[in-house]
Amino acid sequence: MAENIIQIENLSFGFSPKKQILKNISLAVPKGSIYGFIGANGAGKSTTMRVILGVYPEVNHTVKVFGEPIETAYPETFRKMGTLIDYPAFYDHLSGIDNLRTLAILRELPRENIDEALKLVGMWDARFIKMKKYSLGMKQRLAIAMALLGKPQLLILDEPVNGLDPNGMVEIRQLLVELNQKTGTTLFISSHLLQELEKMVTHLAIIADGEVKFQGSKEELSDRYGFDKVEIKLKNAPDFLKYIDHARLIDENTLEVDTGDIEIIARTNRTLIENGAEVYRISTVESFEKWFMEITKKN
């Protein structure tokens, strides 16, 4: 069994006993994974992350990091972790390099780490500029540099590409994937930008209304909810439902079909034509988006 860097079992949390924000959450983040934590705004992502980080006090010993309960693990275990929660946290009256210095002192890190982190995120030239003069993208990069400062084994990032332009998003995503692949750093990333995570995660969990609706590897999600679907627009859709396996009627003119590979798409199309269907369009369903809507929809 793979070692889990973060292990949560039946976590419930709220600021008053009567009103729980997180309800019985269980998560397991395997070492070396890129773990996506997906949820709409207000679903409980940031609260979960804050509890994992010990910022919000959890008294029932339900959370472990690096195999140790957070009550005892922190603050020492933070040496092995880098974080970026909510939005870039920084001191805007200080320069970029002074912001990194504050953390380097606390972590007892040498100056080289600061220089290295600044170069890694492309902020070396702007290091002496006060952060209040930084653009949002520059702030985000520096925040990532702050998270990477101690060469962490675990990076916990909340919306890490928020505020970046499209190129910046690609760059940071590449940086994080490279980091994972080269150093084996485990990434625990939350986002509501589903396409962003879809392309990089190895594992994911979906949270809605304080409850985890799904967690597992990408393959497990595909197995459970069907991976690859196509939407077929045709005339009199209900008449053709009987000819096709794994199909569902969406409306009068729409069928949704689970497809394992492109052969199944071709075969389905042939069957429909052979039975006299007038097919207007075959298109793929946006997988994560669709699943996300399904999983998080309320009763």
């Binding site: 910022v55 006090p57 909510d86 946290a89 805007d92 953390l103 606390l106």
Partner: protein, 720 residues
């Protein structure tokens, strides 16, 4: 933990870089010294500190520490704490810090330590600037020789008191600034604390429940007079520090009030215990205390200055007799006695000066004096267990009854109702009185003050009743209530002139025969202690109205057999012999004074005019303007002359003093050689002193009122 705290503190220090807090502290520390300096440049050139000053720097620091402690340092803490916390509130700084390998306690404490260090720097700046500007002032504008000495222990105590008293304010403001995330609320709360301090200053009250009040408590009296190095204000400050660090840390680390204090049963029990411990500690710290008296009555102290006496005398109040002769060795004296010492207002004097003429002393009390003698006055500091009594003595309780007759004219019902209320209110204030050191008044003194106040209320009520009829029942109820207070007059009350005068007046009816009725009343009293006191008081006050020595002597002789204690007759004889020197109608002593042109003159040379004489010294020259104003006012009256006579300068010093101030043109200025000897011989206790000599060169009033008093003008009106 310590290393963790050290790293967090270093980090916090970097975080305040660029906030300008050190400059802000230096700026606030500079305000008072700079204002004074600017005042010297543009304001009138007032001479440097008088010779009675202990130290140039100590004077400057004493006068400036008050405003700095009560306003500037608090303002700095409010601003700095708010600013320091805002940088974390604004951009997720708390979260950033809390996800680093540092404990939350270290983060919270590190912030506190930085605020404390900044306060320390600001206080150090204040001391530095005050000393530098004082030296600069003296160098540029000093007109007399200054005393440069500075006591290190005094400086240390002043600094530490300022610093320690600020710790609680820092703890409180950190708590407020962390809990309230916006900039506005902590600032408003801080300013409200300052406003409350201002209210307390105006109302002369102490608010120990305000955590912002500790600095005000610490500097409500000169630190040389404090009984202990650290006291009530510092204990309160430490209490607030611990309380708010604890509450603030719990609130901060648990992220909400609910989670910190009332989340579940366990947390509630912890909160309850905390409240219990902190509440008890506060109760015991703020509970007013009476200083424990010693096993024996003790007087000690030291005198510094030229021409120190060889011995001091302790004089008891009843018969003015020496209780003790206390030798002075190298300026220091110590005396103690386990004998019964009747409670009263004693005098501690030397041959030439009084150290203290109202020493409230009884068995097992202690007084420690620190007296710095100058040629024209002493500066003295007093440590004693009777601090509260001294403080209470100067408080105006029940003063409002003086304007009640006008306020409630023709409304007797309301008058008596308000009198009752005023009595209750004053009594309550008297009982709850405490000093800045948290000392409360002993029962013996409280009873004395209570009875003294009852006399004043009775006199006021009776006066009102005479002029306003009606509401007899309410009047009688009030009088009965007040008379009950006086049923058993204490020993102190029996020595109180106010009570004795009231008691004597109660023998007489209103009208022309009032005086004879009083004599009849007091004569009819049964021989004994009370009669002795009343009779001696009646004789002493009546003597002042008699024109000459013989008439006064006859009065004493007439009643000498009426005393049960013959010492009262001796006391009256002594009073008479003292009066003889300065008695009205006796020739004014034949002294020779000199004017600025070196012309000699005697008071006889003014014959044909009444002469108003001002005797002043360089340490007691504050009323000279009032005297000059009076001289100008009566300039056109041909039968009165004004003479301002200096008694302590040498001739050149006196002339240069007048020249520096461009004085002497509008007033007849004189200098009395060997003036100090005349002051001593004439038993003048305090300068400036005013004397009126009549047109025949006889004493008209040896103890005239000061020219800024209405009585002075009444006197002048009677002779013009």
């Amino acid at each position: 933990m310590l290393k963790n705290l050290q790293l967090a503190t270093r980090t916090e220090w970097i975080k305040i870089k660029g906030l300008g807090l050190i400059y802000a502290g230096a700026g606030l520390a500079l305000v008072m010294p700079l204002l004074k300096f600017t005042g010297k440049i543009f304001g009138p050139r007032i001479p440097g500190p008088p010779e009675t000053s202990i130290s140039l720097f100590e004077d400057a620091l004493t006068s400036d520490t008050g405003p700095f402690a009560k306003f500037f340092i608090i303002l700095f803490i409010v601003v700095a704490t708010n600013r320091i916390c805002q940088i974390d509130h604004k951009n997720g700084g708390w979260l950033l810090m809390e996800t680093q390998p540092v404990k939350k306690l270290s983060i919270y404490l590190a912030k506190y330590l930085n605020i404390v260090f900044l306060s320390f720097l600001t206080i150090a700046f204040f001391f530095l600037f005050t000393i530098l500007f004082t030296a600069l002032n003296q160098w540029l504008f000093g007109q007399t020789e200054a005393k440069w000495a500075l006591s290190f222990s005094w400086l240390l105590q002043d600094f530490l008191k300022l610093f320690v008293s600020s710790l609680g304010i820092s703890g409180f403001m950190l708590f407020v600034s962390v809990v309230f995330q916006g900039y506005i609320w902590p600032f408003i709360i801080g300013i409200l604390g300052l406003v409350l301090n201002l209210v307390s200053y105006i109302r002369k009250e102490f608010y120990p429940y305000s955590p912002m009040h500790t600095e005000q408590l610490a500097f409500s009296q000169d630190i040389r007079s404090l009984n202990t190095f650290f006291g009530f204000s510092e204990a309160l400050s430490i209490f607030w520090t611990i309380s708010f660090l604890l509450i603030g840390y719990l609130w901060y680390s648990r992220k909400s009030f609910k989670r910190a204090f009332i989340f579940d049963t366990k947390v509630r029990i912890r909160t309850l215990l905390m409240l219990l411990v902190l509440g008890s500690a506060y109760y015991f710290i703020q509970k007013p205390k009476q200083v424990a008296p010693l096993a024996a009555t003790s007087l000690s102290g030291k005198l510094e200055g030229p021409d120190l006496p060889k011995e001091l005398y302790l004089i008891e109040p009843e018969f003015n007799q020496k209780v003790a002769t206390i030798p002075l060795v190298n300026g220091e004296f110590t005396w103690s006695s386990s004998e019964e010492l009747p409670l009263g207002f004693y005098k501690l004097i030397s041959d030439d000066r009084s150290i203290n003429t109202g020493l409230f002393l009884g068995k097992c009390d202690f007084y420690n004096f620190e007296v710095f003698r100058g040629p024209s006055g002493d500066i003295s500091f007093l440590k004693t267990n009777r601090k509260a009594e001294i403080g209470l003595q100067g408080m105006p309780f029940g003063f409002e009854i003086s304007y009640f007759p006008q306020l409630f004219q023709d409304k007797p019902g309301e008058y008596y109702k308000e009198m009752n209320k005023a009595w209750e209110r004053s009594l309550e204030k008297m009982k709850s009185f405490r000093t800045a050191e948290n000392y409360t008044v002993a029962d013996d003194f409280l009873l004395f003050k209570q009875q003294d106040m009852a006399v004043n209320f009775l006199k006021a009520a009776q006066g009102f009743y005479r002029n306003n009829s009606g509401e007899e029942k309410a009047y009688k109820a009030l009088v009965t209530r007040l008379e009950k207070e006086l049923e058993k007059p204490s020993e102190l009350t029996l020595a109180n002139p106010n009570y004795l005068a009231f008691k004597l007046s109660s023998f007489s009816q209103e009208g022309a025969r009032a005086d004879s009725a009083t004599w009849a009343g007091v004569s009819a009293l049964e021989k004994g202690r009370i009669k002795d006191k009343l009779l001696s008081y009646q004789i002493a006050t009546s003597m002042e109205k008699l024109p000459d020595f013989q008439a006064r002597q006859q009065l004493i002789n007439r009643y000498s057999d009426a005393f049960s204690d013959p010492r009262y007759t001796e006391k009256l004889e002594q009073v008479l012999s003292e009066q003889q020197v300065t008695l009205k109608g006796l020739p004014f002593p034949d002294i020779t004074i000199m004017d600025v042109d070196n012309d000699s003159k005697t008071i006889k040379d003014f014959k044909g005019k009444y002469v108003v004489i001002e005797l002043w010294s360089k340490g007691a020259d504050g009323s000279r303007q009032a005297f000059r104003d009076a001289a100008a006012r009566y300039y056109w009256y041909r039968n009165v002359a004004f003479a301002s006579v200096n008694v302590d300068f040498d001739e050149e010093g006196w002339k240069s003093y007048l020249k520096d101030r461009k004085e002497g043109q509008n007033l007849q200025e004189y200098w009395l050689p060997a003036g100090a000897a005349f002051v001593k011989e004439a038993r003048i206790r305090k300068l400036p002193h005013y004397i009126v000599v009549d047109d025949k060169g006889l004493i008209h009033d040896f103890n005239a009122s000061a020219p800024d008093r209405p009585e002075f003008h009444t006197l002048l009106g009677s002779i013009l």
